[in-house]
Symmetry: C2
Subunit: 341 residues, 2 copies
């Protein structure tokens, strides 16, 4: 049965500071017919990621800025309902930037088929084996280049990317110290995921925590948060340290008067490297990462957890939870049911 109405969240306003549900507006519109090369996708899972906040700013980032009134941008997985593109047929499962909506009409060239030969949940294709897993894998291994015996520090360590980074660091023989925002998260990454130590930055001094848990200094820092956390880490970097600039969630509220790292000069004394990266640059090496990540997962060496919110209508309030740290695992909105396999 084909629906005729598409329900969407559109950008209502640029967030002033922290994003709130008031920055989105709910809209219903008729589903138009397809042009050549287009496909109609029924969205099933929507991925909520910190980078969503960056896309809402007026300034372009690694993608063009959204305009007010645009359908909110987001990674999603869905099922093809109708196709005028030769590569896709109804029933195919696809992923791409399909937006915060029940149905997406998109050029077939901008979506990729989801492989179904691996025994993982469908949403793992944007989690462990998708942009989350690839971010952790290439960011840590290609930019961070950890060696066995080195000390790796990860911020937002209980988050979707951070929790994988720490586990990959352990597989590579590093001492891994995670920074997270609650005792429960700290327990999870040490007791369940095998991190060597965890620092609850909301309880006591991060600087003292780093001194205590990184007695030999820090060789690799995988930075998801920026700001004061980056600054604290810069105080303890070793010679030739590598800092992976993956995200700066502390800076995303758009207040440019926030100070950056005062200890950046340490990067000179220590001949350190800070390097930004975006996972999209690595999609041509996807197979390498998927093989490794699935292999580790199948061997029980990598775990992950998901936090699934039911119903597109809850997406705005769910996004807020990413920024107050109350989500537990990869945050996903379930928009519609998976097809029977």
């Amino acid at each position: 049965m084909k629906r005729e109405i598409n329900r969407q969240w559109r950008l209502a306003a640029r967030p002033a500071g922290r994003v709130t549900p008031a920055d989105f507006v709910w809209k219903e519109e008729a589903i138009r017919s397809l042009a050549d090369s287009e496909v109609l996708v029924r969205n099933i899972y929507l991925s909520l990621d910190p980078t969503n906040r960056v896309w809402m700013n007026a300034a372009p980032s690694y993608l063009p800025a959204l305009e007010i009134g645009d359908v909110m941008r987001g990674f999603a997985i869905g099922a093809v309902e109708d196709s005028r593109h030769p590569a896709f047929s109804p029933g195919d499962l696809v992923q791409g930037i399909l937006g915060w909506q029940e149905y997406a009409i998109t050029n077939g060239a901008t979506v990729a088929k989801v492989r179904r030969d691996l025994p993982v949940p469908l949403h793992a294709h944007f989690g462990l084996l998708g942009h989350i897993g690839l971010t952790a894998y290439f960011g840590l291994l290609d930019i961070g280049k950890p060696a066995a015996g080195e000390t790796l520090v990860v911020s937002a360590a209980a988050g979707a990317v951070g929790s994988l980074v720490g586990q990959i660091g352990k597989i590579k023989g590093c001492r891994v110290v995670g920074i997270a925002g609650s005792d429960e998260k700290c327990r999870w990454i040490t007791d369940e995921l095998g991190f060597d130590a965890a620092i609850n930055y909301k309880k006591g001094s991060l600087v003292r925590g780093l001194m205590r848990h990184c007695p030999g200094g820090i060789d690799v820092y995988f930075d998801n948060v920026g700001g004061e956390t980056l600054d604290a880490v810069l105080r303890f970097i070793n010679l030739k340290a590598r800092i992976v600039l993956c995200g700066m969630i502390s800076q995303y509220d758009g207040d440019k008067t926030l100070p950056g790292p005062s200890y950046l000069a340490n990067a000179i004394s220590k001949r350190a490297r800070l390097e930004g990266f975006i996972v999209m640059d690595y999609y041509d090496r996807e197979q390498e990462a998927v093989d490794a990540l699935f292999g580790w997962f199948a061997e029980g060496r990598i775990k992950y957890r998901v936090d699934i919110v039911n119903g597109l209508e809850h997406a705005p309030e769910a996004l807020s939870r990413l920024f107050d740290g109350s989500n537990q695992g990869k945050l996903i909105v379930k928009i519609s049911d998976e097809p029977a396999r």
Copy 2:
């Protein structure tokens, strides 16, 4: 005639903010006799460098911190007066970290002979062909990796290192924009050294200057100053930009509450790299740099100027001039006469 008294500047206090002559104390002491492997050097030229200020802080940098009462650390060139090291004889010209003093007693292993086969002034061995030249050469070419047609921005562009960086950038085919602190300096780097444009950061907005003179964005930034200048540049970096962290003169006054760059998050969107380096890591490749730099100098493609202060007694006030920007060229203190050749 051998002197028996050595006159020295020693560290009297850690500077609180900007370094002043009151942070040094003048001392005279007898010259002791040499132990095995030691050489006695009569210092001729003392190099004053921004990094001297870093060495005065309590925190170690890439070298151990000085203690209060230590002879002030500095690069110098001198003549061997007496030697108990098999590799050195009286009359040899040597360079090394010989300190702010008339005579240095040092292990022969820590000084290097100055080559005299090139027709350059003696002090060029710590200028164009010494740590200044090597800093510009390896920092720009190894860390910055400029390509022809790219836009290179240099701060402290009329300084000893910056002026060489810009000229090497021109030789490599870059569009070169310098940031300096006076109209005279700006004229010198454009009219005499061939920079494409110069921005006087003390006059008008640096951000507007960068917008005007870097219409295609910034590919390589050679940073000698850090702070707000680095932050301004970060707003205009291109994809895969490279930022050479060479110095942070704006941060050397030790006030750690100074903000770092707020726009560091741009390094993520732009997949940029910021990398610190110290010239000492490149001494094993000295010959490569000296050959290139001397070759360009002999062809008239590289110019430099020196600002020579006569008399060790003036070293502290001369050092202050590095930080108020009033020196014009590589700042050198002449301590004693060159030997006749």
